[in-house]
Each structure stands twice: as C-alpha cells, then as structure tokens.
C-alpha cells in the first residue's frame, strides 16, 4: 500500500489550533487564575486525596477495574474485549469529555458514552447515573488520565452546546436568584458560611465527598448547588447538565485530572 500523504494531517492539526483557542477563549475564568477544588480544601482532605491507601475513592476505581473485565449484555462482551488495556486505551479520554456523538447529534459525557457502549456494543441495559456500577466505571476510566491536563474536545459541532452551557452557568436560578457564575466566577476566593466557594472545577470527578459518605458524579454536585439556590434540579442525564459539563470542561482546560478527588 502507498504511504498516505501527510498533508491532510498537517492541515487538520493547523485547523485545530484556532479551534482550541476558541474553546479556551470562550470562558470567563482566565487560564492563569484556574485552581482545582483541592487547593481550597484543608490539609487533611488534601492528604487524603493524595494518598491512594487513604483515598476512599480508590475503592470505586478498583470495582471499576473488575467491571471493565466483566462480560455483560446480550453480546456477552467486556469493555476490555473491545478496548484492551485501559491504562493505554483510556488514557487521555476523560480530559477530552464531554465529546460529540454523531449518532445522537449532540454531546455525551463519560457516563453517557459508557451507556452508549453498553447499549450499542454490549447490548446491555444502561446503568443508572448515580448507581455504584456507573460510578465505578467512570472513576476507573477517568483514573487512567490522572495527572493529564484537561483538554476539552475542539470539535466545532460542540460550540453551540458549550454556549448553552455558559448561558445556563450565567443564568440566575431559584428562589435565591443566583447564577453559578455569581459564586464560582465572581466570588471563588470567598467563603459561603464556613465553606470555600471554589471555582466549580470538574477535574476530579467522580469524587468522594465526606458529606455524602460516597463517590458522586459532577451532575450530583450540580444538583446540590441547584437545590441550594432553591431551584428545581434537572433530571440526571438531562441535556442541560451535559451542556454545563461542556462549559465547565472548557473553563478547566489545563488543570490536571485528579479523579478520584476527595472533598469535605
């Protein structure tokens, strides 16, 4: 076979530079200001996240490693049969998500992708969003990218969804009439009661919250904030959450992945 010409690859790479700039330029939080949520936590919580033998989230990662190898669904296949060694095939995947799914014509997040794989490839039932199996699998997949920088997908088809995410982020909600941006863009260095406000960075999800006594997803965290301003949370997996996650990912570009994080 003749070697394929290199030109298209070079052109694609050049084209993706403005796209990447567009992704990071379309957010309110400057690159140099970005701080992971763990930077706001107490030294004890930081130590718990940093030490794999003390980090409770590692239990879910280990469960996820087993589920990765477990055949499931009518196809009787395991994730591993298609994807092989997760340490290689899943490295760099989570920092890019949410990503566009051509079949759905809209973005999916990591848990959405896992459910599409279950339905399309394993022919198994989708997993419940906050169920222990979904949390374990997303934690396991995201863990393969720990330490890599968040690098949101530069696909131009994502732009309108990311813009909608930003609109939602900046929309005042609930009886208390507050937007996510009111706190997380404008007051991230302040304290709300006894708690640091932080920047709402998504780079350590799913993560273990001592308050939950469990691992939880980014969507669960967003539901908590919506309930806090006395707004009706979106249903799990609602398009609104995916759009918000897209915007959060663009806002987090460059921060290291820390899954599984630990929070108070």
């Amino acid at each position: 076979m003749r070697p394929r010409p290199r030109a298209p690859a070079v052109i694609a790479a050049l084209l993706s530079i403005p796209a990447l700039l567009a992704v990071s330029g379309a957010v309110a939080l400057e690159q140099g200001d970005r701080r992971s949520g763990i930077a706001f936590a107490s030294p004890q919580t930081q130590a718990m996240q940093a030490d794999d033998t003390a980090n409770p989230g590692m239990l879910w990662v280990m469960d996820g490693a087993q589920l990765w190898r477990r055949p499931d669904g009518a196809a009787g296949k395991a994730c591993q049969e298609c994807h092989g060694d997760a340490a290689q095939s899943m490295k760099g995947v989570a920092p890019r998500y949410p990503d566009f799914d051509a079949g759905l014509g809209r973005p999916v997040d990591l848990s959405g992708r896992i459910n599409l794989c279950r339905v399309r490839h394993q022919r198994a039932a989708p997993l419940a969003h906050e169920g222990s199996e979904m949390l374990a699998l997303t934690a396991f997949v995201a863990f393969q990218s720990r330490g890599l920088p968040m690098a949101p997908a530069a696909d131009a088809r994502l732009a309108p969804f990311r813009a909608e995410g930003r609109r939602l982020f900046e929309q005042r909600m609930g009886q208390l009439d507050l937007s996510c941006a009111n706190c997380h863009d404008d007051h991230w260095s302040a304290r709300l009661g006894g708690s640091p406000v932080t920047q709402a960075q998504p780079n350590a999800y799913p993560l273990y919250r001592l308050e939950w006594q469990a691992l939880g997803s980014l969507q669960r965290r967003m539901r908590n904030c919506m309930a806090g301003v006395r707004a009706e949370p979106f249903a799990y997996d609602a398009a609104d959450y995916i759009d918000l996650e897209l915007y959060l990912a663009a806002r987090a570009a460059g921060l290291p992945m820390e899954t599984p994080g630990v929070r108070p």
């Binding site: 929309q171 005042r172 909600m173 609930g174 009886q175 208390l176 009439d177 507050l178 937007s179 009111n182 706190c183 404008d186 007051h187 302040a190 304290r191 709300l192 009661g193 006894g194 406000v197 919506m226 309930a227 301003v229 006395r230 707004a231 009706e232």
Partner: protein, 165 residues
C-alpha cells in the same frame, strides 16, 4: 420597579377601578404590571432608599431576629455576612460586615435592603427577601412564596437596628 410602591391590597383595588375605566391598550399595560407584581408578596411603599413603614402591625422582636440572621437554612444571612451573633468560622464573606449597621442605616433603609436589595443594585447577589425577582426554575416547595415573612423581616430589622457599634 417603583410601581411596586403600593400595598398589595391597594394595587388590587386600583387595578379593578382602572380596568373598569380604561381603554383596551391600558388594559394590556395593566395586565403586564399585575403579572410583574404578583411575585411581590409583601406590600410596601418605597420612599427614597427606604421603606419607612413596618410591614406588619406588631413591632419586630430583636431577640428572635438575632436567631433568624444566624439561621443557615432559613434566612441564610450568615452565609454571606459577618458581624453577626454566630461563631466566626461559620460567617461568610461574600458581603459587607453588618457590625454596627444600626448606626449606619436607619430602620427604613435596613428594611428596604432586606425586602429588595435589587431595587438599589439590580446586580446584587443578595436575595430579595420580600419575594420579588426570583430566578429561573424555582423549586416547587418555594414557588410563589417570599423567602421570609413580613414578621420575620420585622424581627431582623429590629435586631439589626440594635447593632449600634
């Protein structure tokens, strides 16, 4: 905004009278005004930057007000403000300290700031406790209700007015 400077009862009465007298265009205008005002569940009159008259017949109770401002789930004041009777590490700093507020502001000025800070600063993050301007998707349990009742606001006004220095 300032059209809200009427008691709910007065407004309803006026609406009725005007509807009877007014022409078609005017009816349309009034319907818009009535809808905007349906969110304001506390009736009050704004004079300058204050609400001079108490919202209730009975005077507020400062001791009850002290308990209310420290309540992290009902009034939420302490989540943003410091300078209140609450453990220091539980007080937030998204907003100015309220220490000595009774010496800086009159009772009426304090009352307007609690009922509707957004009348003075539309961009304010302080919720309008009198019930006006809720955001999108208000949860069922809270829909159509003010954050605090007139009595609760009067208790808080009494307490903050007592903070003289």
């Amino acid at each position: 905004m300032r059209a809200a400077a009427l008691t709910a009862g007065l407004l309803a009465g006026l609406l009725l009278a005007w509807l009877l007298l007014a022409g078609f265009l005017l009816v349309g205008f009034l319907l818009v005004a009535a809808r905007a005002d349906a969110q304001t569940l506390v009736g009050y009159t704004v004079e300058g930057d204050a609400i001079g008259a108490p919202l209730t017949g009975a005077p507020g109770d400062a001791a009850r007000g002290a308990g209310l401002v420290a309540d992290r789930t009902l009034s939420l004041c302490v989540l943003c403000h410091s300078g209140l009777e609450a453990p220091a590490h539980m007080q937030g700093n998204l907003a100015p300290s309220l220490a000595g507020i009774g010496a800086r502001l009159s009772e009426g000025q304090i009352r307007l700031r609690i009922v509707n800070m957004k009348a003075l600063n539309p961009e304010s993050i302080m919720p309008a406790y009198g019930g006006s301007s809720p955001g999108a998707r208000v949860a069922n349990a809270w829909r159509g209700k003010p954050i605090l009742s007139g009595e609760e606001i009067e208790d808080i006004v009494a307490y903050l007015s007592s903070l003289k220095g």
